[in-house]
């Protein structure tokens, strides 16, 4: 892969690129008239995926208010690649379970998750989505944790969590995507393993 001269000049010869969360996974080998970028395709794909996560517009209670706040100007999750909230699961990559999941909503959540294209990720936001939260005891209607319905990648504590906590969870999800295999890849590489 050839890069332009200007980019090469920023990199002293032989030194690795500035490593940090979200930086491109690869190294530039300068050659006369340009440079060669060396990387692994899987890492590049994961890097691209992690920086363009489109959340599904899905909120079932008060956590959704915090989620909306996270999307708005003050916290602005578009800084991390989350700006394109999608109203259809067909175009979404990550579902943020923002609120209580009741027994009547559980099949809807499962269906939305099934309609999302692979690779897909799930963040359980707040106490209700994690465990049922304040509705754990003596409730006839609440699912005691959304992971009874769909697999969850990242959990956030709080009732409701602050926008900073949601941002932290989203960045944690990005790091998780960058550092390893997606569920889809795990399934393909280890067919004997039961699907999560």
């Amino acid at each position: 892969m050839l890069t332009d001269d200007a980019a090469i000049e920023k990199q002293p010869a032989g030194s690795p690129p500035a490593a940090g969360p979200g930086s491109f996974p690869g190294q530039v080998h300068p050659v006369p008239g340009g440079g060669i970028l060396v990387s692994k395709l899987d890492e590049v794909i994961n890097w691209a995926r992690s920086n363009s996560l489109w959340p599904l517009v899905f909120g079932t209670s008060c956590c959704a208010i915090e989620m909306m706040s996270t999307a708005s100007a003050k916290y602005d999750w578009s800084r991390f690649g989350f700006e394109v909230a999608r109203a259809t699961p067909r175009q979404a990559d990550v579902i943020i379970i923002a609120g209580t999941i009741v027994n009547k909503m559980a099949p809807v959540l499962k269906r939305l998750y099934d309609q999302m294209a692979e690779p897909k990720y799930v963040i359980a936001m707040g106490a209700c989505a994690t465990s049922g939260g304040p509705f754990f005891y003596n409730t006839y209607s609440v699912v005691k944790g959304a992971d009874h319905v769909i697999p969850v990648d990242v959990y956030i504590a709080g009732c409701p969590p602050r926008p900073e906590a949601l941002l932290h969870a989203m960045i944690t999800l990005q790091e998780k995507i960058r550092s390893g295999l997606t569920r889809e890849q795990i399934r393909m590489e280890k067919p004997d393993q039961p699907t999560p």
């Binding site: 027994n103 009547k104 005891y137 003596n138 409730t139 006839y140 209607s141 609440v142 005691k144």
Partner: protein
């Protein structure tokens, strides 16, 4: 009209009434039998003008049920709370959905969650609970659901 004049007017209308005004809103306990007639009178009274039913709910006291109606007056910005004790075994109170139309949904909700019967209701059936819930009233204190409930 303020809370005191509201209570004074209630005493004029219903000498046997025992309205109580220590809280934010005046509270009037009523017997269930005459409730429908009283509801119409409270709404149409020229002084009270309680034209808005803004909350209709029920309380399970384990020994009895209490229907609670919050009536508001959009003219006077004043509210009145009606409380009606019901027999817990055969709870029944006349529907007021023909007086305040909003009661139609609220009474269906109380019907499914507490099992209160509302004679006169045009369409008394489950509102939110899924089919097959008839007879089980999840907001009763003695409701048991061994599948979904974790008892504390």
């Amino acid at each position: 009209m303020n809370k005191d004049t509201l209570i004074t007017r209630l005493r004029e209308l219903l000498p046997a009434a025992t309205p109580e005004g220590s809280g934010e809103w005046a509270v009037l306990p009523l017997p269930g039998g005459e409730w429908h007639a009283w509801a119409g009178r409270l709404r149409d009274d020229a002084v009270l003008q309680l034209d808005y039913l803004f909350c209709l709910t029920c309380v399970d006291w384990k020994t009895r049920l209490t229907m609670v109606y919050h009536l508001g007056s959009s003219r006077h910005n004043e509210a009145l709370v009606i409380k009606i004790d019901l027999d817990r075994e055969q709870p029944s109170v006349p529907s007021v959905s023909d007086i305040w139309r909003t009661a139609e949904f609220h009474e269906r909700e109380v019907y499914e969650l507490f099992g209160v019967d509302f004679p006169g209701h045009p369409d008394l059936r489950l509102l939110i609970l899924p089919e097959g819930w008839e007879g089980k009233n999840p907001l009763r204190k003695d409701f048991e659901d061994p599948v979904n409930m974790i008892k504390l």
